[in-house]
Each structure stands twice: as C-alpha cells, then as structure tokens.
Symmetry: C2
Subunit: 149 residues, 2 copies
DNA sequence: TACATTTTGATTGTGCACAACTTAATTGGT
DNA sequence: ACCAATTAAGTTGTGCACAATCAAAATGTA
C-alpha cells in the first residue's frame, strides 16, 4: 500500500525528534530546564538582552509559545522581563545572576548529547545538510498549500 | 562557544519535525485530521482491529497520548472502541464505515508530501538510515542516563 | 495633525507528548 | 486455591506548539 512510503520519512523525523527530546529531558533534569527552555537560555547566554521577537526568530517560535515559556523561566528566577524604553511594544529579556550562572552547569550537555547520537563528523555534516534543505523545502511547500486555499 | 554545535543537530531535527507537522496540518486540514491522528488511521487502514497497546507500539506512543487521541477520533465518528472479549484489559479499536472511507481521500497525501521534501530516492534512503540509527542510539543513551540516576 | 496600517506581545483554545498514578484484569508461584 | 506481581488503559498535571484574536504602541500617509 502506498500509504507506508511517505510516512516513514516523516515518521522517522518525528520519532527522532521525540527521542532527542527524551534524552534532553534526562540530561536537563537536574538543571530544571526543558529542551525548549534550554534553547531559549542558550540564546540568552550568547547575547543579552534579547526581545521576544528576536528570540522567536532564532528559535522559530511565536509568542504563543514563548510568552508562557518565558513566564516559567521568570518564575524560576532565571530570567527577567521588562518593556523596552525605546519601543514600548518590545519586551527585553535578560538573565538574572542565577540564569547566567546556570550556563556553567549546562556546559557538559552538548558533548554528552553529541556522543549519544553516535554519528561521526562527516555523517553529521551530511545529515544536517539534508535536514536543512528538507526543512526549507517543506516550509516552502506549506506556504504554497496555504496560498492555494 | 561550545553550546552552539550540538544544538544545531538537535535543533535541526526539531525544526524539521515542526516544519513537517505544519505541512501535514495544511494537507490534512480538509480531512479533519491532525498528523498523529493520521498516523493512527494509517495503522488502522492496514490492519484491524488493533489494540491500544499495538497502536502504541507501532507509533511509539503511550496510553496517555493515545487515549484522548482515540477518544477524539471516536467523537469524529471515524473509530469505534470496545473491550476485548478474550482479555478484558485490552481495548480493540476498529474503523467505522466513515473511517474506512476516509482512506481514499488520504491517498494523495503521501505523494504530495514526498514531493514537498525535494529529496531524491537515494538521498532519502541515506537520510532515513541516519535517522533510524540516530533514534536508536539516542533512545539507548536516554535509557543509560535513567539507569545511572 | 489625524487616521489607517503595521508591529509587538499577550491571551485563549485545541491538541500532542510524557511522567506519575489509579484501576481492573490476568498471570505466576507456592 | 490464594495472593503477589504484572499488564492494559485511563486519568491528571505539566509543558510545548500553533491558530486566531486582541490591545497597545509605533509608523506612514493624506
């Protein structure tokens, strides 16, 4: 039956995503972070302050996802939010001292995760290349479908 | 900074998964199905009846996800659930006539999706191979982490 | 300047995913 | 035959993701 073929590619991506999420869940457990929260913190550990819009652009997430996520990070004392003085529509997100300090405890996560994938450098590069092209092509196709309706 | 490198692989998988989900959302819109619901229906279009456990094994989902999902499919009139006579713990899931009929309307989805990925056959094969090995390795690593704690 | 448009973020509602727990049915060991 | 352990589903609670909608601020143009 035809319905199996396509499915696998997409299902495999879906399954891989959930598997990675599960590993992150285990690795980030004692940091008190989820994977999406960890992603947001990584952006902040690099540059700060950042507006919600910038964060959304970096992570490809909208405010419907980020607003509650940032609220939880704020409740955990890792982050502080304030309206920009220059543009009152924007909200600037900053690290608290606790949030900044957490980065040292997160340092080992990347290595452990990379090791867990079991992929070597060149395989990784090819894989990521395919992933990026896939994502771009699929995003484009989704736009085309929406336009057609 | 070290925190970027690993991130990309995982983030790329995450992003690809969400992109595919978005395309499915568009393609399945007029069928009234979400992507996970579509996956469940595909299993049922192949073999029937199926227990919740079997469905969970096929989709790698637990009852906490499947129970409400199946309840929605039942509410939509696509599926019927009944306790197994042989083993009262099990619930058998069957298609209704409407549910069975829906498969014909879903036939075009795979082709459209495969085309949207923009991948050729051999690239697809290599990609899926990497995905499978990645998932297996990561699942294994997650188990190891849990055992160590 | 006045007003329509755009931008930014928040909110609401729906659905997926998983951990932890509960209940009922079955199985296995004694 | 009895009781402990296991198994199958369901339930609850938390969090992510996104569509749709809204309010407030900024921008552009008549």
């Amino acid at each position: 039956m035809k319905l199996l073929l396509d499915n696998q590619v997409c299902f495999d991506v879906h399954a891989a995503s959930r598997a990675l999420d599960g590993l992150y869940r285990a690795l980030l457990r004692d940091l008190g972070l989820t994977y999406p929260q960890y992603l947001a913190m990584m952006v902040l550990w690099e540059r700060e302050p950042v507006t919600v819009k910038e964060l959304g652009a970096a992570l490809r997430l909208d405010s419907g996802t980020l607003s509650p996520l940032l609220k939880r990070l704020e409740a955990a004392g890792l982050v502080r939010r304030e309206r920009s003085a220059a543009d009152e529509r924007s909200v600037l997100v900053r690290l608290t001292p606790d949030g900044a300090a957490l980065s040292s405890r997160a340092e080992q996560v990347p290595d452990r995760l990379l090791a867990a994938t079991g992929l070597d450098v060149e395989e990784l590069a090819a894989f990521r290349g395919t992933l990026r092209r896939l994502t771009a092509a699929v995003d484009e196709a989704a736009l085309a479908v929406r336009r057609a309706e």
